[in-house]
Symmetry: C2
Subunit: 288 residues, 2 copies
């Protein structure tokens, strides 16, 4: 299968398109399997197949036909309800094992999906391996510098994310000073930022001013970077500014920054720092 | 001051009224200082003084006049903006120390307020010491029993809250199976439950069904129970049901359950378990 195309299992967000554009630019053969109802219009138009998320039979049949050299899962998919998942996965394995996998955190469930693909002989790779220029480089930074206080808040945020690693939640958190304002759940980073904005706005009956605070986003200890890699982009920067934050710190080597030039320019214009941070819990080889 | 009244510094929510009613029933002399804009109508009507949260001079002058035997802080107050706090507290202490206190988590800031009162010779006590019948008793439980799966989810939730103790956030979390759906931030338990409801509803374009999951709420390791004691009531039970949860576990000895009979009846009627759990990190003397 080493000569086959890259098979892209595409969910929502802008990562699928950026990956596809990268592959187009580098002339690498690829096939897009779009998850119905999730992908953005540009991907829907480019898709070679459009399949319901839970139609595992058709997903597997499509991959069988494409004979890809590698498979990658990019973009977000909402987690379907328990019953729907149970129905879908029970085609494949022991019902009680499935129930166990489904009850676990998102990452563990996604790892289950990767395992399923690997079991059938596919090589699963992360978007960072296919498009390394999207990866947040060590030392990445915009024009605005983080203050010493912000840097100390970022350290606290990293300690928080590390403490949460065992619980398969919390790729991101917002902190102001020594105070934790929000921990990201399955709702995602943008919604968490809107929560912070409401939290601040609601108390003063006006939109959040630049009160400070930082968004810290990073891969968990032990996270499989092939699934659900921490990703931000220009929109995240705008939402962070609307929440009154002074900046964003994102894990070096193990996160993706979409539209890097645009994201950095947006941060500069809005007066936010945007900088990578080294993660003490990431091995160097994981982070490259 | 041992013969003086109980001074109640009252914020929002139903705890202030329940405490006042308890003191009325037991014939204990008390004075209510209501924080303007926060208290419920019943407290506003009963208040002996109504003061702006940040008018520390008037708060102190009022207490000076009342000569209370004990002071208690009950009910929630939103955390004011940094600048407002800085202005208020800078009347009292070194500006950089104040800045440090303000930047900390809610509990640490509230502990600062307690310290301020104690410095001036007041004895600060928790609502649980004045109205022990509001405290969640060990062994408290409604008619509905938690399933073995729910019990194991509760254990995971307690481990999560314990891991968060160091970060001064997260008195409560919602989990389903092994999956963390939400961690409570400064928005409070009810809003967190509504977030879970949206999280579930939004994915299916219908209100959340009873998909299961538990609300776990407990005092942090090292929490000063005189401030911000974990509190739930019948409304929490209703919100949990709306979020599709199967039950609520609340820390025994170190939490308050308002309207206990009503809350338990509501849980029974809605088919939710409502049970106390022992907290491994609480000393017995703390929890009584």
């Amino acid at each position: 299968m080493t000569d086959g195309p890259v098979a892209i299992l595409a969910g929502s967000g802008r990562l699928p398109l950026q990956l596809v554009q990268h592959l187009e630019r580098s002339g690498r053969d690829h096939r897009i399997l779009a998850f119905q109802g999730f992908v953005e219009p540009e991907i829907r138009r480019r898709a070679h197949a459009t399949v319901a998320l839970l139609d595992l039979r058709r997903i597997m049949a499509t991959l069988e036909r494409w004979q890809p050299s590698v498979v990658t899962l990019v973009g977000a998919v909402s987690r379907p309800g328990f019953a729907a998942l149970l129905g879908a996965y029970s085609l494949f394995a022991n019902r009680s094992e499935v129930r166990d996998v489904i009850a676990r955190g998102d990452d563990q469930m996604l790892r289950g999906a990767v395992g399923l693909l690997e079991e059938r002989g596919y090589r699963v790779v992360g978007a960072h391996e296919l498009a390394p220029e999207l990866v947040v480089a060590r030392g990445l930074a915009g024009q605005v510098a983080a203050s010493p206080q912000d840097r100390s808040t970022v350290e606290l945020g990293l300690a928080l994310l590390e403490a949460l690693s065992a619980f398969d939640i919390g790729q991101a958190a917002v902190l102001a000073g020594r105070r934790v304002l929000a921990i990201e759940g399955p709702e995602g980073t943008d919604r968490m930022l809107r929560r912070v904005r409401r939290l601040r706005g609601a108390r003063f009956a006006r939109p959040a001013r630049k009160e400070g605070g930082v968004l810290v986003k990073a891969a968990k200890r032990g996270q499989d970077l092939r699934v659900d890699m921490p990703t931000i982009g220009p929109r995240t920067v705008v939402e962070a500014a609307k929440a009154g934050l002074s900046g964003i710190a994102i894990g070096a080597g193990s996160s993706l920054l979409l539209d890097q030039a645009d994201a950095l320019r947006t941060a500069d214009e809005l007066g936010l720092f945007l900088a990578s941070v080294d993660l003490p819990w990431m091995d160097d080889h994981e982070g490259r």
